[in-house]
Symmetry: C2
Subunit: 239 residues, 2 copies
């Protein structure tokens, strides 16, 4: 099953990580990569397993090697609000460590997920000793802050239909498409609703509507975006 593709397991040395060029570690030198490689441990999570719990104080950060995870807060009624996703090459848990605050959003593996765990002290050691890395993490957090601002504006002002169209585009940008052109992530309609910030039935209804309009097609739970310009127009999203 997995054997025909690249290994799911991270390499022992970060130097050989295939995600590195797109990650916060992209411009670290040999010494720095040596340090991290020495200090990290490789871990895996089964689909559905909680990687980090909201409210906890993590003792380290994870760099996802292969997999997909959702970051979500529980609302007052016990419903999840998905804040964002993380996938290959993404650093998770750093926000809580750096702000010295509890974890504000739980993290759960959406598929079997392999990651490198870097203990807090090691993480600080590398941050404090490497201005380049520190700046990379700064860039990352500032980028995410901008994305959060966009989501705030959407949630506050757009209709559910508009937001759904936008979420579909975000899913594609985050996870890409599989060989058949379907979004390369399978989410329940409940999870989609939990990202849009609406009731499951509303999400289902509007997905049906978009299907009838020919803007998406589905096969089981899978979704294919058939009319991206149309979705972008509905979502009032401009590049």
């Amino acid at each position: 099953m997995r054997a025909t593709h690249d290994s799911a397991e991270p390499p022992l040395h970060c130097q050989f990580c295939r995600n590195r060029s797109d990650s916060a570690f992209h411009n670290l030198g040999t010494d720095e990569l040596d340090t991290i490689s020495r200090l990290k441990t490789c871990v895996s999570f089964r689909k559905g397993q909680v990687i980090m719990h909201e409210g906890a104080r993590p003792q380290g950060v994870y760099c996802i090697h292969k997999g997909k995870a959702k970051l979500y807060k529980m609302g007052p009624e016990g419903k999840e609000q998905i804040i964002r996703f993380a996938t290959n090459g993404d650093l998770i848990g750093y926000r809580s460590i750096l702000s010295d605050e509890p974890i504000s959003a739980s993290i759960t593996a959406l598929v079997d997920t392999y990651a490198c765990y870097i203990p807090k002290s090691s993480f600080f050691e590398v941050i404090e000793g490497n201005p380049k890395f520190s700046l990379n993490v700064l860039k990352l957090s500032c980028h995410e802050l901008g994305e959060a601002g966009k989501m705030i504006a959407s949630l506050a002002q757009k209709t559910v239909r508009e937001r759904l169209a936008e979420i579909l585009l975000i899913l594609r940008a985050t996870f890409g498409e599989d060989e058949e052109g379907f979004l390369d992530i399978k989410l329940t309609r409940e999870e989609i609703a939990n990202m849009v910030g609406t009731a499951t039935e509303s999400a289902i209804r509007l997905l049906s509507e978009l299907k009838e309009e020919g803007r998406i097609s589905t096969q089981g739970r899978r979704i294919k975006l058939e009319d991206r310009p149309g979705l972008r127009k509905i979502a009032a999203v401009f590049e």
Copy 2:
């Protein structure tokens, strides 16, 4: 008017800034403060003036010395969505500079505002040469990212009434109270609505409701929180 209080103008040297202990500059040494003091310029904005425009590429950051500002995005219908506020000691514009992205939220002075402007190149110079400062800014952006996550969850799942109660508490936490116990910021009801993410009339109606219930009182545009535990309960906010 202003003369009976501390000067609105920033001191020439950051060493004498009264906001410093609570800002990203709190643990910088004399050398570092010298550098920033040498490179900064003092600027002021009239109430209502735009400090930074959404979409622009800023050439520097501001550290607010005295004043209040709102950060807001324009929605597709031309309505503002207030993302958050900034006040004395807050660094603004850094997100765009560090992520190398355009400004994602305009910044407008809510009252006459005095700030220190640090050019981009100087800002990077200090960031790259001072691990402590870099870490402070990291801490700041990570804290703001956590706050944004909270707002996302509220906007997605809470009713307008719940969100209004929460916003009132946030306003108090951000700006404090004046000598008479009113929130030390005067906002139009439209601005409050633009933070809650609702129509102005809805915000007005719910403020009236909270007034009738005795949870708040008003004098003109000013608002006093009369029952903070009650508001916290409505807002489903826990410390």
